[in-house]
């Protein structure tokens, strides 16, 4: 039985998705300020790490890591609306890449499972 990560297309699929996804996020004025940074390359690599995780791929992130990484953003006002906006861009990215609906559902479930940690609740 192949994993979700393999079914979606593995690393190649993540690579195809990350530019599209990060572009959508940056172009969204309601959330782009959380992603504005002088080091766009490092931020881009973080987006790739996030997509790898959401695709069910290899990662070592724990809930504690998620909390720590997002705590400064929560202090700046990161809330559920922002979380949902990012999730919407993830879904739109996968639709644009013609990922089958059932697999998109699985990815969105993984992304959704991080919500409490991301929002430090």
């Amino acid at each position: 039985m192949s994993t979700l990560f393999e079914k979606i297309g593995g690393d190649a699929a993540v690579n195809a998705a990350v530019d599209i996804f990060y572009r959508k996020v940056l172009a969204d004025d309601s959330i782009s300020h959380f992603f504005e940074t002088t080091d766009m390359e490092a931020q881009h690599a973080k987006q790739k790490a996030f997509l790898t995780m959401a695709f069910g791929g290899p990662n070592n992130y724990t809930g504690a890591d998620m909390r720590k990484a997002h705590a400064p953003l929560v202090a700046k006002g990161l809330n559920e609306d922002h979380f949902n906006a990012v999730a919407g861009h993830l879904q739109a990215t996968l639709e644009e890449l013609n990922v089958p609906a059932d697999l998109i559902g699985e990815v969105m479930a993984i992304a959704g499972s991080t919500k409490d940690d991301v929002l430090n609740r």
Binding site: V14, D19, R23, M40, P58, N60
Partner: protein, 323 residues
């Protein structure tokens, strides 16, 4: 089993161990995070030996060329010597062989290093003078075509080092150099792709190096070079770039003047605005940005939003130290 050589010591690998595993098992602190090849936190520089293809798979072509790799993805098959990317500052002496004023504010320096420096056009050197001041300057020369290392120095109103270089550093004198550094450079393999380059001030130096390197390596796609200055007398390589555009029908040189009324043949406005205005869709382009940090950061974002892939955007922001 192969060994990892790090800071002069050898550490034997265990079966199937990655470079990161071996270093960590021996108590060596190197930065790392995801251990899945995604975050790039554990990137190291391979000084000797070969690293696996897998450990370089997602790196920018320029970083691959320079033998950077991800320690968490590399199970070495032979001995490798590795270093942290910023672990290697070794200075060597260089002698000034030529100094020429190119504009009211810019001078060209040609240096001869005491030992050969293996570099790519577009990388930069750190210069350290006798007072211990260190500043970075980009290389405008080509290693296989030019005998000397060429740097362009602009007199900065508050720039101690630029005043010292221009006023006191004369032909025959020596200075300490370290490098090369940076990964804003031409990578071969796709000679048809269009290139767009935007440089402000002496951000032109690395771009001219990269442009000449691209032509030297047989690049056939269009190459658009935008040089941005405030006043037209700051267009310090104007004649030679016009000549280069005449000689090569795939080279387009755009001289952009933002501060005063431009003369004939020059374009009015900021170089980055003009470049992106003329090329609103950058899908498939390779982008090179050098010069003022604000310009580089803003244009990197705009170029990415205009469709350029992050892998294809190379940038060098000329940060100036605080005084």
């Amino acid at each position: 089993m192969p060994e990892i050589i790090y800071q002069g010591k050898a550490y034997p690998c265990q079966p199937d161990e990655t470079v990161l595993d071996t270093l960590r098992r021996n108590g060596i602190e190197v930065p790392y995070s995801c251990c899945a090849g995604a975050c790039h936190t554990c990137m190291l520089h391979c000084l000797k030996g070969e690293v696996s293809e897998r450990s370089q798979k997602d790196l920018k072509p320029a970083l691959k060329n320079l033998k950077y790799f991800l320690a968490c993805q590399c199970v070495p098959e032979q001995d490798v010597e590795v270093a942290l990317p910023d672990d290697e500052d070794v200075y060597v002496s260089a002698r000034l062989v030529e100094k020429e004023q190119l504009s009211p504010t810019v001078w060209r320096f040609r240096l001869e290093a005491a030992v050969p420096i293996y570099y790519h056009a577009g990388q930069f050197l750190n210069l350290k003078n006798e007072a211990g001041w260190v500043r970075s300057y980009s290389l405008a020369s080509l290693p296989n075509e030019d005998e000397f290392l060429e740097l362009h120095v602009r007199r900065m109103p508050d720039g101690q080092m630029s005043h010292w270089l221009i006023d006191h550093f004369s032909v025959g004198m020596h200075i300490e150099i370290e490098g090369p550094n940076g990964h804003c450079l031409y990578t071969d393999g796709e000679p048809e792709r269009p290139l767009i380059m935007v440089g402000t001030g002496t951000g032109l130096a690395p771009l001219v190096g990269i442009l000449r390197d691209a032509l030297h390596q047989g690049h056939r796609g269009p190459i658009h070079l935008y040089h941005g200055v405030r006043t037209h007398d700051e267009l310090y390589l104007h004649e030679s770039l016009l000549a280069m555009a005449q000689q090569h029908n795939n080279v387009y040189y755009h001289a952009c003047v933002s501060g005063d009324e431009p003369a004939e043949g020059l374009q009015a406005g900021r170089a980055a605005d003009i470049a992106l205005g003329e090329h609103p869709d950058l899908k498939g382009w390779r982008v090179f940005l050098c010069g003022a940090p604000e310009m580089v950061q803003q244009t990197r974002k705009k170029a990415f939003l205009a469709g350029a892939s992050m892998q294809d955007i190379s940038a060098d922001a000329f940060t100036t130290p605080e005084h």
